[in-house]
């Protein structure tokens, strides 16, 4: 298979970025919008073509999906260690290409309407292109270091985009937080990479992931604190992934990241940034599975499950619709992690891996749809808060319908996309660990509940009176909604297991009817509850909230995690570490140096005083000196 044209997929957004970035001031906004959209359209078309080529024409040889790669040395470390730049084509990277390009294209189209009239219109498109480019580079990476490079670029693009409204203090803080938190996670990631590089002598995925390869066979090369070095490396790499994918406890940046423009939220939450962590674990899945018998996967499972539950609980109480969606993202990402954690490797055991990827795929579609729909609503009412909304179904029919579809999809109602992927995850969890399965089912119910809570809150509920009557958004915004709604309804029918599996051999996955029925029923219960609580304006919800008391307060404050982190950062690191160090430097280190200087000057002043100019003083010194010398001589001679 000829894969050289695939290099164009990331290259086009890069060119667009450079073009728009450098000629920022000289390009008319209308032109820059088109440049961005058409650039990405080209990428998207190529991605689809590549997927077609790979999955249906030349990728599958004797039932095994081949891995193609092309790379060139970018930098040498040692004789064996080097960073390559290149592209790696295998099922998950091709799938990710589609996810990224389609969602990004939709976001681009949508942004043309949403960002109209903004000062930094061109800049916005430049950043979007940079973001897309970084994500393409990340999914196509051939080795750990390349993925790290693009990983960082993804981080910085998110920084730029979250802080897009740079005059808003909250946006600056959010951007900084997102970057620093993910950077902290990257610290772990980087050390993980260093360990892997040192013990295996390579960064290359093909070598690392080969079950018969040296990396996996010799994993137990050196041990540290009871675990092998590679296990530690994988834990640290997972830390990196957890940071980007907003897993507990590194999730705090995600809700704040809502400060960015809504299309950016859609992009971050659906297709780019957050799925990078999932993708990273999936990319290294063979290593995770074989090294130390999948020890690290247990961690992945529990972190994922806990994050899913934790986020779902918080989501129920949030009043900012974007924050609800943010926590729902975190919850769904927890799902994906969980699925990866419970997965096996061969044949049908790999259902978890497949389900995770499947969920990533479907989630990208409906989450993008949810965010863009929310954006459309926010665009109309100029507020993020549920209290300012209600009864909007009359004003915004298209948004209403598409949002409903997305909500149904995420709630796991058949036949929408979310149902299929969530079902596979639950199947995988059921086979592996019953506890995890129950958590999954419970989270599914919660998901349905909070999604419909905001759905009813926005489009039904009380009839708000609006200063400006909300209108349906323009075509440039509704068109992506319609496309994504269509995708959310249909992508669930793709037989994913035939294309994606850990060992790259397709398998048959069947719908497990009892489990599917349970999940569906739980979802429907959630929806029904939401219907009761929020369909009509009533005080039921408030009563329940009071009933939960303390717990409700904790939840709506996100269990005070922000505060804890702020405390650690501000009170401990800034106050207790940084400030003392800065003071210490000025006072003691610098003080010592200045002190040496001052002592010299002081001594010289003293000595200068000795040289008083009074002959008597000199005479005294002379005589006393002569006497002393004489005494010394006599003492030593006799």
């Amino acid at each position: 298979m000829n894969i050289s044209y695939i290099i164009l997929i990331p290259a086009i957004p890069l060119v667009v970025f450079l073009l728009l970035g450098i000629f920022n001031q000289r390009i008319k906004p209308s032109v820059s919008g088109y440049v961005g959209v058409f650039g990405l359209l080209a990428s998207a078309l190529m991605s689809i073509y590549a997927a077609y080529q790979y999955f249906f024409v030349s990728g599958n040889v004797d039932g095994v999906f081949q891995t193609f790669s092309q790379k060139t040395v970018w930098m040498n470390f040692t004789d064996s260690l080097h960073i390559d730049m290149g592209i790696l084509i295998d099922p998950i990277s091709v799938m990710m290409l589609i996810v990224v390009s389609v969602v990004s294209l939709m976001v681009h189209i949508y942004s043309r309407g949403y960002m109209k009239g903004d000062d930094g219109y061109t800049k916005f498109f430049a950043f979007l292109s940079l973001f897309t480019f970084s994500m393409f580079g990340l999914v196509l990476a051939t080795n750990l270091f390349q993925i790290y490079i693009f990983w960082e670029l993804v981080g910085v693009s998110s920084y730029l985009l979250i802080g897009y409204y740079y005059t808003k203090t909250s946006a600056i803080a959010a951007a900084k937080k997102a970057f620093v938190v993910t950077r902290f996670a990257d610290f772990g990631f980087l050390i993980g990479i260093l360990i892997v590089g040192y013990y295996t002598g390579t960064f290359d995925f093909e070598t690392l992931n080969n079950p018969e390869g040296s990396a996996i066979l010799n994993w137990a090369s050196s041990s540290f604190m009871g675990l092998s070095a590679l296990t530690w490396a994988l834990i640290l790499i997972f830390m990196g992934g957890a940071g980007k994918s907003a897993m507990f406890p590194l999730h705090i940046w995600l809700p704040d990241a809502m400060e960015g423009p809504t299309p950016v939220s859609a992009l971050i939450h659906a297709a780019t940034m957050v799925v990078a962590g999932i993708f990273l674990v999936a990319r290294l899945f063979p290593m995770y599975y074989f090294v130390d018998n999948g020890f690290v996967l247990n961690i992945v499972t529990y972190v994922g499950a806990f994050s899913a539950l934790f986020a779902a609980i918080i989501a129920i109480t949030q009043t900012d619709i974007k924050r609800v969606l943010a926590f729902s993202t975190m919850s769904q990402l927890g799902y994906m992690m969980l699925a990866l954690g419970v997965s096996g490797y061969d044949g049908h055991e790999g259902v978890g891996f497949m389900a995770s990827m499947f969920h990533l795929f479907t989630h990208a579609m409906f989450k993008a749809l949810l965010f863009l729909g929310a954006g459309s609503v926010i665009h109309a009412v100029h507020s993020n808060y549920l209290k300012d909304m209600g009864g909007l179904r009359k004003y915004m029919p298209i948004t209403n319908t598409t949002f409903l579809i997305a909500a149904l999809a995420i709630s796991g109602v058949p036949p929408f996309a979310g149902f299929w992927s969530k079902d596979e995850i639950l199947v995988a969890a059921f086979e592996q660990d019953k506890l995890i399965y129950f958590v999954g089912v419970f989270v599914a119910g919660l998901t349905a509940f909070y999604m419909f809570r905001i759905y009813f809150g926005i489009f039904w509920g009380k009839d708000n009176t609006y200063e400006h009557t909300p209108k349906e958004s323009p075509l440039s915004m509704t068109f992506p909604l319609l496309v994504l709604a269509f995708l959310s309804m249909t992508v669930g029918f793709i037989p994913f297991s035939e294309f994606i599996s850990p060992n790259k051999v397709g398998f048959e996955a069947h719908l497990n009817y009892p489990l599917a029925a349970v999940a569906t029923v739980v979802g429907l219960i959630g929806i029904a509850l939401a219907w009761v609580f929020y369909k009509k304006e009533n005080s039921l919800a408030d009563k329940w909230a009071i009933g939960f008391g303390m717990f409700y307060k904790w939840t709506s404050n996100k269990f005070y995690f922000d505060e804890i982190y702020m405390f650690v950062a501000k009170k401990i690191f800034f106050k207790r570490v940084s400030e003392p160090i800065a003071k210490f430097d000025r006072k003691y280190v610098d003080g010592t140096m200045v002190g040496i200087g001052n002592t010299t000057v002081g001594t010289s002043k003293k000595i200068k005083g000795l040289q008083s100019g009074r002959v008597q003083d000199y005479a005294f010194a002379f005589i006393a000196g002569a006497v002393v010398i004489g005494l010394v001589f006599i003492y030593f001679w006799t």
């Binding site: 200068k608 040289q611 008083s612 100019g613 009074r614 008597q616 005479a619 005294f620 005589i623």
Partner: protein, 105 residues
Amino acid sequence: MIEGISIYDVLTLTTILFFIGVYGFLTRKNLISILISVEMILNASVVNFVIINKYLYPDILQGVIFSIFIIAVAAAETALAVAIIINLYRQISSVEVKDTEVMKY
């Protein structure tokens, strides 16, 4: 030779005299007083010259002659010193050491 007096006794005397002069030289704050102390030191040394000449080398006269020279030089020196002191007094109306520190440093 002094009957019953050894050279040690005389030298002890001159040593004490010398150091009294030194003490005066170091502690007095007035130029004339310092001059007095210097005279005392000179005298102590003159006595030494003479005594050593007399006790150890009675047949030559070097010590005596040097003493004469010393006395002459002392006289000249005193004359000059007094001249300087008077001049200084005319300039700054003081002969205290502390007032003559302009040349310090």
